[in-house]
Amino acid sequence: MTTMLEVADLGHTYQAKSGAHTAIDGLSFRVDAGELVCVVGPSGCGKSTLLRTISGLIRPTRGDVTLHGDAVRGVPEDLAVVFQDYSRSLFPWLSVQRNVEFPLKRTLKRAERRARAAEALDQVGLSGAGGKYPWQLSGGMQQRVAIARALAYRPALLLMDEPFASVDAQTRFELEDLLLKVKREHDTTVVVVTHDIDESVYLGDRVLVLTKSPASVVADLPVNLPAVRDQITTREAEEFVELRAEVARLLNVGKTEAITAKRRSDEAQAAKWVAAERAANRERADREAVAD
């Protein structure tokens, strides 16, 4: 397997007037070609910063990002991003068809662009909607358009920033399956950033679990589920259930410790009461014995 993406000792610190904030620190991982890797972390842990450094939108303060062997300086040529906020990442003045064509403007002639866009729209099940405008579509359909736009670009790496966080549960299931189908058919390398534990296990070939901010990788878990997944049976599979529990435990390390500590102190308190009561009982028994 060739390595598609390599992130080595990545760190980023934001400088602000109020002080510096380190969002990610010492992050390292690699993604093989054709793999779908999910990155999960607690909210506000620097997932978006990670995604922005990989896509070259911001330059990390330390460490390196390498995409198929080339160091990332600025936005790489063959990378596409699907953002969470579809309503803000589609161009409202362009029709769906033209939104999908947008990334191809620089490189392809008009006829080719059209064909590519039509093909991509067909893949996401929106073949009839090319002439509509984004605001005429439902949220799920808008996100489909964003996915189609990324696909039409035929990127070496597809980055997704919480892509299904703003759609309803039903649509989310549909879109997850759509992503898996597309990924199987095109052998695309995908990195999905999410905060949804179930989603990360359901989608991923691997799940990377991040720590709280500043984020670093705490676990790299392979997902040994069959490539073809099903919203009902996969989610019932023992491996799925175990893995999601594992991820949840890893994400909740801090919280679990706190709970354990509290329980321990509760137990100690209870033991004291029990001891006190026993002592009182014994005293009473002694007194009664004396009285007898």
Binding site: S55, L57, V75, E77, L79, A80, V81, F83, D85, S87, R88, S89, F91, P92, W93, L94, F102, P103, K105, R106, Y133, W135, Q136, L137, S138, G139, Q142, R149, Y153
Partner: protein, 201 residues
């Protein structure tokens, strides 16, 4: 009336030609904006009518005088609307474009400009109305360049044909009304997407 309308068209064209590119530069390069801020804030409050004597001395009493003054007045609403439009530009749209390989220039032309268009059209609408007011004022006060203003002034003097004065005034009002209406329609037709807020679900 033809003289006024023709002058107004020239005024709108010139104002757009000056204010929109300038607004794009000022709106997208903060350094330039800060550097020119003092000059702009000094020039902006000067009423163009107060510049009439100066303009007459420099440019004479031909149509160039009224056109220059009207352009001066019309540039401001257009310039500020363009700058504000760029402030309103959604950073996520810019990031999306950049991720798909658009450089600065492409972002400016294919993202910033279309997203600013609704504001710019509003600016043109305001500029046209302001331009008309200034044109007629200068025609009235200076004369010699024809137009509705001069017509009113001539009708008033001498025999004092109040009917013609009123007719001129009504014509000016009708022009203003039609202009506004035309731009509002253009806005609804071309940039209808911007009035659609929220999500269709």
């Amino acid at each position: 009336m033809i003289a006024t309308l023709l002058a107004l068209l020239i005024v709108i064209a010139l104002a757009v030609g000056i204010a929109v590119p300038l607004g794009l530069v000022l709106g997208s390069v903060p350094a330039v904006r800060h550097a020119t801020r003092a000059v702009i804030e000094f020039l902006r409050p000067i009423p163009s009518v107060a510049l009439i004597p100066l303009a007459v001395v420099v440019l004479g009493i031909g149509p160039e005088t009224k056109i220059t003054l009207a352009v001066y007045a019309a540039v401001w609403p257009l310039l500020f609307n363009t700058i504000y439009a760029l402030d309103e530009l959604d950073p996520l749209l810019v990031e999306t474009a950049r991720v798909f390989g658009a450089d600065r220039l492409r972002v400016l032309f294919f993202v910033a400009l279309p997203s600013a268009l609704p504001f710019v059209i509003t600016g043109v609408r305001l500029a046209a109305t302001t331009g008309l007011v200034v044109l007629i004022s200068v025609e009235l006060l200076v004369g010699g360049s024809g137009g509705i203003g001069e017509f009113i002034m001539v009708a008033r003097s001498g025999a004092g044909r109040m009917d013609l004065v009123l007719a001129g005034t009504v014509v000016a009002g009708v022009i203003g009304y039609l202009l506004n209406e035309a731009f509002e329609r253009a806005q609804r037709r071309w940039v209808g997407w911007s009035s659609v807020t929220g999500e269709a679900s």
